[in-house]
């Protein structure tokens, strides 16, 4: 669905001075700092891990 949406939208060149919204703290393309320990408990309580900015295996006695 997302890929279809993007193909419809297309990419446009955005100048630095046009990035006020892109540079907003809420738009950062990573998990929030306050999600740090939530990501830790997912590692222990679920089997799937990785590709979310957290650990993908190793470093703890988790799954």
């Amino acid at each position: 669905m997302c890929i279809s949406l993007l193909s419809l939208t297309g990419c446009t060149t955005v100048k630095e001075y046009q990035k006020s919204r892109i540079n907003d703290a809420e738009m950062e393309l990573s998990a929030r700092k306050s999600e740090k320990f939530e990501q830790n408990f997912y590692l222990y309580r679920e089997g799937a891990a990785g590709a979310n900015g957290g650990k993908s295996g190793g470093g703890c006695g988790c799954n």
Binding site: C2, M27, L29, F37, F41, R45, A51, N52, G57, G58
Partner: protein
């Protein structure tokens, strides 16, 4: 909650004092390392359920965890105008676990009834504006009663000429060691308990993990950007937990046994959209597959709403579905003839949901009029699993800049 507030308050006061000194530095020292950001995170987590792997898939999963994190980011610019970033991250968790207490229920206080997990990391990266590259490395360490880990990471990123696209590569390795604590009824003669003061020998087993991450980020337009990530990882060594019990159909008992290697392949897609002037839509989806037979889908939606220029509310919802690994069976369902077996419900098939809300305030003049105290965020979440496990978490984040 009271503990969280007090501890964060004390830490903030200490760093406020540190800042007071740094503001007196003369201007000509601008190339020296400067504090860019400090994040203090406190979290309380509690869970309960009735499928503990320690007791073979039945029994209490009650656990509480109190976690603190201190994250310091320093920056400087060298003579070639490259930006250097040094980040130090110190984390400490203290947990009490009723299920771990059942590793050795005959002792008054067994080895892992409560434990402290300490995991610092140190990273350094260099960003060069001329060729739009960032290179970095990181070292991490983790220690708890029965587990030690050393981690190494390298990363490289290159942005496009218009800075609207970036490709990044990360490679990491963890070299871990398990202290193989066994349930007392399954210890060979002369095998130690792992408890303090017990001089009988105990085995130490390695677990090594190797990760590679490839990401592509793209600005789509003035309001939308995305991130695509593939992060294969390979693990080898002792991948089972030595004190997880297995009860067979015929009444026999042993400890969990899983293959010595595991290959994981998660692929994720993150899309963020700024809607109007006040609402941000943060979406995340991950597909996961591994060679133990597990597949998983995870979706996350968070919608921060800026109520005023310095107060925002962020409701969030996360759904995850995973299939069981092929070696899983519940209590007394395994057969002695099987090669591998586990009754750990964390790698069983289930759906989970995590729902909650965050509140963030970042007053223009700083919190309580103190300029460096940039923002505070409070976040609550309620987690449920179709296995019956329920958990709650509360997190407090203070950012100092």
């Amino acid at each position: 909650m009271k503990k969280i507030c007090i501890s964060v308050g004390v830490l903030l006061s200490l760093f406020r004092a540190g800042y007071g000194q740094s503001t007196t530095q003369p201007a000509y020292e601008k190339r020296k390392l400067k504090v860019e950001e400090i994040n203090l995170v406190s979290s309380y987590y509690q869970q309960d359920g009735n499928n503990s792997a320690v007791t073979g898939g039945i029994g209490t999963e009650k656990l509480t965890d109190f976690a603190q994190s201190f994250d310091l980011v320093l920056k400087t610019t060298d003579q070639r105008n490259r930006q250097h970033t040094i980040a130090f991250d110190f984390n400490i968790d203290h947990y009490t676990s009723a299920s771990s207490d059942n590793i050795d229920p005959l002792t008054v206080s067994s080895a892992s009834r409560s434990d402290t997990h300490i995991y610092p990391s140190l990273s350094w990266s260099v960003h060069n504006d001329n060729n739009r590259t960032t290179k970095g490395l990181a070292f991490s360490y983790s220690t708890e009663y029965d587990y030690k880990s050393y981690g190494f990471n390298l990363n490289f990123a290159k942005a496009s000429a218009d800075n609207n696209r970036e490709v990044s590569l990360k490679a990491g390795a963890f070299f871990d060691t398990w202290k193989a604590i066994l349930p007392p009824e399954l210890r060979p003669d002369g095998y130690g308990s792992g408890a303090h003061g017990d001089r009988d020998p105990i085995d130490y087993k390695p677990r090594n993990s190797y990760n590679l991450s490839v990401s592509l980020s793209q600005v789509i337009n003035k309001r939308m950007q995305l991130l695509f990530t593939v992060e294969p990882s390979f693990q080898q060594g002792l991948l089972s937990t030595p004190f997880h019990r297995i009860y067979f159909q015929d009444g026999g008992e042993t400890v969990e046994k899983l293959p010595g290697t595991r290959l994981k392949l998660p692929v994720s897609f993150r899309l963020h959209y700024f809607m109007g002037d006040r609402v941000v839509v943060r979406t995340f989806y991950r597909y996961y597959i591994d060679d133990w037979g597990m597949q998983a889908h995870t979706a996350n939606l968070e919608v921060p709403v800026k109520l005023t220029s310095f107060i925002s509310v962020s409701p969030f919802y996360r759904f995850s579905h995973q299939t069981a690994v092929r070696y899983f069976a519940p209590y007394e369902q395994h057969k002695q003839t099987e090669k591998y077996y586990t009754s750990d419900y964390d790698i069983s098939g289930f759906n989970s949901q995590f729902v909650g809300i965050g509140f963030r305030t970042a007053p223009p003049g700083g919190l309580f009029g103190i300029g460096h105290w940039q923002s505070v965020e409070l976040r609550f979440g309620h987690y449920t699993r179709t296995t019956g496990m329920v958990a709650n978490s509360v997190t407090l984040l203070a950012k100092i800049k």
